[in-house]
C-alpha cells in the first residue's frame, strides 16, 4: 500500500495521470518515483514532487496526505483498486474511470469523474463545476458508476450523463443534469436555476428548494416518493415535471412539494 506526501507547495498545475492503482501495481517505491509527470511545461519525476513510501497500516492502494489541489487527473482511467486522498485535490479526478474507488476527504476541483464508465467516487467535501461532465464540446458524458458528494457542488453537474448515479447531499449550482440522456441525479438540498435544462431522459430529484422550473417543462403528477437507487428512496411528496420539451426530451424532474410552495401554481394544470 503506497502512501504519498507532497514535498512542497505546488505553484504550477501538475498533470499526474500516472497516479492510479493499475500503474502502481507490482512496482516498488523506487520504480514509482521514476514515473513521469508534467509540472507546468516541465517534465519531472514523481519522486521530485512526492515522498513515496510503503505502509501496511493503510487500507487503500494509494493514500495521499496533504493538499494536492494543483494535481490533476489523479486516478485517470483506473480500472481497479482504491485511492484515498486526505486533503483537497485538483481537477479531473477519476477521469474516464472504469472501476475501483476514489475517496476524497476534502474539496475537489472541476470535472471530477469526467466521462467515467464505472466505479465509485466519494467526496466528503465540496466539488467545483462540471461534476461527471464530459470534455468541453463532447456529448460522451458519464456512462456508469456512482459519484457521491457530501458537500456542495458547482454548476453543470451531470452534463450529458448517459447512465449511472450522482448523489449530492448538499446544494447544487445551476444547470444540474444539463442535456442528460439517462441516469439519476439526486440533490438533497437546494438547487440553483435551470435544473434539467435540455434533458432528453433520465431523472433529476431535488429534495430542497428551487427558485423556478424552466418553462419548457410540463407538470405530470405529484408522487409521494422518488426512487434514487435499488434500496434508497427520497421521501416527498414531489411534483413530477416532464421535459425538456424544447429538445423533445422525456426526462423527469422531481421537485419537493413542501419546500417549494411557490410552485403550487402548477397544480391547477393537473
Amino acid at each position: 500500500m503506497i502512501v504519498m506526501r507532497p514535498l512542497r507547495e505546488f505553484r504550477f498545475p501538475v498533470t499526474a495521470d500516472c497516479v492510479t492503482p493499475d500503474i502502481f501495481e507490482n512496482k516498488t517505491c523506487k520504480e514509482i518515483e521514476e514515473l513521469k509527470v508534467w509540472e507546468g511545461n516541465k517534465q519531472k519525476r514523481l519522486g521530485d514532487l512526492f515522498k513515496i513510501e510503503e505502509s501496511d497500516s493503510e487500507k487503500a492502494n494509494i493514500t495521499i496526505y496533504g493538499d494536492v489541489s494543483k494535481i490533476r487527473r489523479i486516478g485517470s482511467c483506473m480500472k481497479q483498486g482504491e485511492i484515498a486522498i486526505q486533503g483537497n485535490v485538483g481537477t479531473h479526478v477519476g477521469e474516464e474511470m472504469r472501476g475501483g474507488k476514489i475517496t476524497v476527504y476534502g474539496n475537489v476541483g472541476g470535472w471530477a469523474g469526467s466521462m467515467m464508465k464505472n466505479g465509485t467516487i466519494e467526496i466528503h467535501g465540496n466539488t467545483s463545476d462540471y461534476l461527471g461532465a464530459p470534455y468541453r464540446g463532447s456529448t460522451q458524458g458519464m456512462r456508469g458508476g456512482r459519484i457521491i458528494v457530501h458537500g456542495n457542488v458547482g454548476s453543470e453537474a451531470g452534463t450529458c450523463m448517459r447512465k449511472g448515479l450522482i448523489k449530492i447531499y448538499g446544494d447544487a449550482g445551476q444547470f444540474v443534469g444539463f442535456h442528460m440522456i439517462d441516469g439519476t441525479i439526486y440533490v438533497e438540498k437546494n438547487c440553483e436555476e435551470r435544473a434539467g435544462a435540455c434533458m432528453l431522459g433520465g431523472k433529476v430529484i431535488i429534495g430542497g428548494s428551487v427558485e423556478s422550473v424552466l418553462p419548457t417543462f410540463t407538470i405530470d403528477s405529484i408522487k409521494p416518493k422518488a426512487k434514487i437507487e435499488e434500496d434508497e428512496t427520497a421521501n416527498g411528496p414531489f411534483y413530477v415535471f416532464l421535459g425538456d420539451i424544447a429538445e423533445e426530451g422525456n426526462g423527469k424532474l422531481y421537485v419537493h412539494k413542501e419546500k417549494n410552495p411557490h410552485l403550487s401554481q402548477f397544480e391547477r394544470f393537473l
Partner: protein, 563 residues
C-alpha cells in the same frame, strides 16, 4: 538541386508506365530526361512503388466553415494532437485538423496537391489566409457560384456571355480555380426558409430552375475554357431516393459535352446514390448510377467514401445540414452568406452497427468498383464529411482487396451486409488503377498539366511507397499495402525530399493555383453593380477582391476565354 530516384517500380498511368523498373531524374523542381548522376542526390527505391504525388480533388481543408468546425469541436482536438518537433509545428484535430497538421498529414501519405472545394466568394480572403498556412501541398479552391445573385440574374436574362465575363472577373477576384455548384437554387431558397426538391422546381424570386443553372454554368464553363468542369453537389443530397436526381443532373448536360470530354463532375457521389422511399426502405442506388456512367463519357465522379469514425460534416448545403441536425440532435451551425450561398456544420458519427451508415459505406465502394473505367471515379472521403482524409489508406485497401472488404463486412449491420451488392463484386483494383483514382485521374479531370504524372516537364512531386508489387499480393496482404500508403517511404515535393519513412524532413510552402481568365473584353462593372454591392453586401466593391499579395506563393494559370 538534382535528384535521382533509382530502380523503383514506376506507376505512371498518364504516360503509360505500368510497374516498370526505371529511374526518375529531377532537376530544379521538374522531372527531366537526364541528369549528371555523379552530382545528383540518389534515392534507392528498389523494391518500392514510385507514383506521382497524390492529388485530392475534393477536400475541405480551409475556409470559414472549416474554421467554424474547428471552433465548435474542441473534443475533436482533445485526443488527436501532434507536438511540435524541430521541423514541424504543433497541431490538433482528428476530423478538422489545424492547417499545418493538415499539410503534414497529406505529405506523410504522399499527397502533394489538394483542392479545397467550397469557398463562399465573400470568405475568399479567409480561405486564402488558411491555404497560405497549409504547407507541404499545392492547392487551389473553387468559389461557390451556383447561387450567386449575379449568376441567377444573368441566367434568367439568358445573357451567358456577360455572365461568363463576370465569372472570369470572379475567378480573378477570389483567386479561384473552378465553378462549384452546391444544391443549385436550393441555397437561394434556403435564405427564405425553403428548398428545391427537383431539377425543375422554381427558385423563389428568380423564376429560374436548378436545371437552367446547371446548364447555364456548364455552357459558361465551356465559353471560358476552364481546365476543370463544373463541380456539382447535386440537389436532394443526403435524401433517400436521390439517385434519380443525380442521374437527371448528369443527363441535363449530356448534350453539352463535346469530343468525349467530361462536362460535369458529380462530387461525393456516395451521398447522392441513395435509393428507397425513406430511411427504412433505404438502399443503394450505386448500380443505377454506375450503369449510367459506364455508358457515357461526359461525367466524372468522386466517391465520398464513408469511413466509420467520428467526424464533422460541413457543406455549403444549408438545408441539408439543417435536416442532419434534426436527425442527430447534435450541436450545429448554419449560416446564410449574404447573396452568395449558405453553409452548415454538424458533428456526426458513422457507426458500423447502424443500417443507414453501413449501407452508405457499401455505396461508396460499390460505385468505385462498378464504374469500370477508373478515369471516371476518384478516391475521396469528401473530407471531413464522410471521414477524415487520413483514412485514404484504409479505402485503398478496401479497393484492392476483397478480403479486406469482407473483414469489414463481418462487423457491420447484418441487414445492410445482407442486402447490399458488395459481396457479389469480385473486382480488385491493381496498383496502376490506384494510381489513377488517387492522382492521375484527378489531375487529368482538374486539367492540371504538370501534376499527376512523371513525364518530362512535370512538377517533381513524387510519392514512394515501401511495398513491392512483385512480391506483395495486395489482395491477401492488404494490411501491408495499407501501412505502406499510410506512411510514404519518401515524398518529394517540388524536387525536395520532404518526407522520409513517414517523418517530415522539411517544411516547405506550396503554391496556390488560380485561374487568370482572360476575356476579350472585361466584365461590365458598372455603377449599377457597384450600387448593388452597397445595397446587398456587407463588403464594399473595392474591398471585395483578393489581391495577389494575399497568397503566400501565387501561381496564376492563364486561360484564354472564347468571350
Amino acid at each position: 538541386m538534382e535528384l535521382l530516384i533509382r530502380n523503383g517500380y514506376v506507376y505512371d498511368p498518364l504516360t503509360g508506365v505500368n510497374g516498370d523498373k526505371m529511374d526518375i531524374a529531377i532537376k530544379d523542381g521538374k522531372i527531366v530526361e537526364k541528369i549528371d548522376e555523379a552530382k545528383a542526390r540518389k534515392i534507392d527505391a528498389s523494391g518500392m512503388i514510385v507514383m506521382p504525388g497524390g492529388v485530392d480533388i475534393h477536400s475541405h481543408v480551409a475556409g470559414s466553415e472549416v474554421n467554424t468546425g474547428r471552433l465548435i469541436r474542441p473534443e475533436d482536438h482533445f485526443k488527436d494532437f501532434e507536438p511540435k518537433t524541430a521541423k514541424t509545428r504543433s497541431g490538433v484535430g482528428h476530423s478538422v485538423p489545424s492547417t499545418f497538421t493538415t499539410g503534414y498529414r497529406y505529405a506523410r501519405m504522399g499527397y502533394t496537391t489538394v483542392m479545397n472545394p467550397s469557398m463562399p466568394p465573400l470568405e475568399a480572403k479567409h480561405t486564402h489566409e488558411e491555404l497560405s498556412d497549409t504547407p507541404m501541398v499545392d492547392k487551389a479552391t473553387y468559389p461557390l457560384l451556383g447561387d450567386w445573385w449575379f449568376s441567377l440574374e444573368y441566367l434568367r436574362n439568358g445573357d451567358l456571355e456577360e455572365l461568363a465575363r463576370h465569372i472570369a472577373w470572379m475567378m480573378n477576384c477570389t483567386k479561384g480555380y473552378a465553378i462549384k455548384i452546391v444544391n443549385p437554387g436550393g441555397l437561394e431558397a434556403w435564405g427564405r426558409g425553403s428548398n428545391v426538391h427537383s431539377l425543375d422546381d422554381q427558385v423563389p424570386n428568380f423564376r429560374i430552375t436548378p436545371r437552367e443553372i446547371i446548364r447555364g454554368l456548364c455552357k459558361v464553363n465551356k465559353l471560358l475554357n476552364l481546365p476543370h468542369t463544373i463541380h456539382v453537389h447535386t440537389n436532394n443530397l443526403g435524401m433517400p431516393g436521390n439517385y434519380a436526381t443525380a442521374i437527371e443532373t448528369m443527363q441535363c448536360v449530356e448534350d453539352l459535352a463535346s469530343e468525349n470530354k467530361p462536362a460535369i463532375h458529380i462530387t461525393h457521389c456516395q451521398f447522392c446514390a441513395f435509393k428507397g422511399e425513406d430511411w427504412r426502405t433505404f438502399e443503394s442506388g450505386a448500380e443505377e448510377i454506375a450503369n449510367y456512367v459506364n455508358c457515357r463519357s461526359h461525367v466524372t465522379l468522386d466517391m465520398g467514401q464513408v469511413v466509420f469514425s467520428d467526424t464533422t460534416t460541413m457543406t455549403a448545403d444549408g438545408p441539408f445540414q439543417y435536416d442532419l441536425y434534426r436527425l442527430t440532435g447534435h450541436k450545429w451551425a448554419n449560416h446564410d452568406v449574404e447573396t452568395e450561398t449558405t453553409s452548415g456544420i454538424v458533428p456526426f458519427r458513422y457507426r458500423r452497427k447502424n443500417y443507414v451508415h453501413a449501407t452508405q459505406w457499401t455505396i461508396g465502394l460499390e460505385l468505385a468498383l462498378l464504374v469500370r473505367d477508373p478515369w471516371k471515379i476518384f478516391l475521396t472521403t469528401d473530407h471531413p464529411n464522410a471521414g477524415p482524409f487520413t483514412s485514404y489508406p484504409r479505402i485503398i485497401a478496401w479497393l484492392m482487396s476483397r478480403k479486406a472488404r469482407e473483414a469489414t463486412m463481418k462487423r457491420i449491420h447484418k441487414r445492410a451486409a445482407n442486402r447490399c451488392l458488395l459481396p457479389s463484386i469480385d473486382r480488385e483494383l491493381d496498383f496502376s488503377e490506384i494510381a489513377i483514382v488517387t492522382r492521375a485521374g484527378q489531375a487529368k479531370t482538374l486539367g492540371l498539366k504538370n501534376k499527376g504524372h512523371l513525364g518530362v516537364g512535370a512538377d517533381a512531386d513524387v510519392a514512394i511507397y515501401d511495398v513491392n508489387p512483385n512480391t506483395t499480393d495486395p489482395s491477401r496482404k492488404y494490411k501491408t499495402v495499407r501501412k505502406a500508403f499510410k506512411h510514404a517511404a519518401y515524398t518529394v515535393k517540388g524536387g525536395q525530399i520532404v518526407v522520409k519513412d513517414g517523418e517530415i524532413l522539411k517544411h516547405v510552402e506550396g503554391n496556390t493555383m488560380w485561374l487568370d481568365v482572360q476575356t476579350n473584353e472585361p466584365a461590365e462593372i458598372n455603377k449599377e453593380m457597384k450600387s448593388k454591392f452597397r445595397d446587398y453586401w456587407t463588403v464594399e466593391y473595392e474591398n471585395y477582391p483578393v489581391s495577389e499579395h494575399y497568397l503566400a506563393i501565387s501561381q496564376p494559370i492563364t486561360v484564354k476565354a472564347n468571350v
